[in-house]
Symmetry: C2
Subunit: 311 residues, 2 copies
């Protein structure tokens, strides 16, 4: 019998394959993803990095990974359920696309399933956000958001506004006093209250403190919102989010392929990419968490832009 | 009468002027530093950014600043003496040089004087490290270290080995499992035990916890080593460190000015610069501390390389 872990892992891989094919189809000179398989040093799982350097996508990486282990003393108090039993299982897909053209927006997307303490806690998280590099286009932003709203609304009318606000809050660059991009959705702890063996003793105030800003507050709101979803519901939602991103982003890329750019546009692109790198290294929870817990730096830092400027 | 604060501030400015002049003298096309004066939003001090973009130095920044205020609740427990009285005064000079040639080493230097709680605690910190971008030269490294050793030895035979080891520990990039560069010296809390109104109640284990790795251990060793130095001694040492860097670094730059480079050397340079940026954004205590406490991002992020690659 397939476990929930198997089902989710198979889907992450399948989504990866669909996404990679559709991006390769946009490349005029037949650029292709190169795949690198890696294993955790302790042998507890690993992943696959798919990286393409093409004409349209100067650099696009799509990672899938399935890992397990035990959280260190330091982290287990920041993870719901891990203080009792620090074992974890996690699988997911993560994508960052840095197009060459200053007029093609960059984008980030990921979804993940997390199991803590041999099943005591289980949740999904993910989302996607659009990052035009200095040249936002209102219709791109509107269509990107509409795609996510269409994915969210059939599950819960509160999801899209909550997850949009959470995304805006999460992808804010405080020292630059600006958003990293045009937003999208971000969700976490989906299913935390409705799934898992221990469903009564979770205090949203107990976790999320290690993350950025007010996440635990929003997590609290989400926990209430997701109470109606069983595992199949949470997984179905995560699939819809993935499919929404899979379909809308290449459509936005295709809109701008015929636009030419100047050296000035290029400079603006490179400077925005510098701020994107600042965000990922200074604030992004996944990046810092991954590096501090001995994750694969090549996979984690795949998100960094191919070239950036701080001039 | 000049206060200690005045004396130190005047010296930081004077060192800045000397350094900028000597770097301008290396520029064949008469590039010059441009100066930007800034003030803290609360009006409590500010600084001057001196930035040059030239032929030899693709980007070199020299900041001086003199600021005061109160540490936030969050930070005051990480700063010796600040829990009792969170007022601080801080002045210093900070420099990062990113030469254009892959064969001219980059470098970082800073020194600072800190006063906590209206004089209850007072110390100096600083150091410098050499960062060849993929092309280290043994003689450059040896001469850079020798210059600092000459500055250190007349004060205390323990200083150079301690401060060299502290530098190696501090400028290590864990996720890359490599040093950021060829090292130099790094010191902090110099005078913490011998200066200030309250000299008895300092437990080195109480602070440094917010920093990288084992700094508080080393700080403990330093506190013992510096017990013989009064304020004049600590300041004289800091001056000698500044003069050592002022003299040795342009000499190293000058050695490599006639060397040409290939596209391959350039790529190696840009990739090393990427790792340099990773270090500064992920680990550097000064960068994170400055940004998290509302410092001037332009001054703090002056350290980032002009161009970098993650391809």
């Amino acid at each position: 019998m397939q476990t929930k872990q198997d089902i989710a892992t198979t889907w992450f891989r399948s989504l990866r394959d669909q996404i990679c094919s559709s991006y390769e189809a946009l490349e005029p000179k037949r650029a292709r993803f190169e795949r690198t398989v890696w294993q955790k040093e302790d042998g507890r799982g690993g992943g696959e990095i798919s990286l393409m350097k093409g004409e349209v996508f100067e650099k696009v990486g799509v990672n899938i990974s399935t890992v397990h282990g035990e959280f260190s003393e330091k982290f287990r108090h920041e993870i719901p359920g891990a203080a009792t039993n620090p074992r974890y299982w996690a699988a997911g897909i993560s994508l960052v696309a840095h197009p060459r053209s200053p007029f093609v927006p960059a984008a980030h997307f990921n979804t993940r399933m997390i199991v803590i303490g041999d099943g005591a806690r289980l949740w999904f998280g993910g989302g996607g956000d659009l990052n035009p590099m200095g040249h936002p286009v209102a219709k791109d932003t509107a269509d990107f958001h509409a795609a996510f709203q269409q994915a969210c609304d059939p599950f819960d009318a509160h999801f899209y506004p909550h997850f949009k606000a959470w995304c805006d809050e999460y992808f804010y660059i405080p020292h630059r006093q600006r958003a990293r991009g045009e937003g999208g959705i971000f969700y976490d702890y989906l299913g935390l209250h409705s799934l898992g063996a221990e469903t009564t003793a979770v205090d949203p105030g107990q976790f999320g403190k290690g993350g950025a800003g007010k996440e635990h507050t929003r997590a609290g709101m989400l926990v209430a919102a997701d109470a109606a979803l069983d595992w199949e519901g949470c997984f179905a939602f995560t699939q819809k989010v993935g499919e929404a991103f899979r379909d809308i982003y290449p459509a936005l890329v295709a809109r701008h392929l015929s636009e030419s750019w100047t050296a000035e546009d290029e400079t603006r692109l490179l400077k925005y990419r510098g701020q994107y790198a600042e965000y990922n290294l200074l604030y992004d929870r996944g990046t810092r968490f991954g590096l501090m817990t001995g994750g694969n730096p090549e996979a984690i830092l795949m998100s960094l832009p191919p070239r950036a400027e701080w001039l």
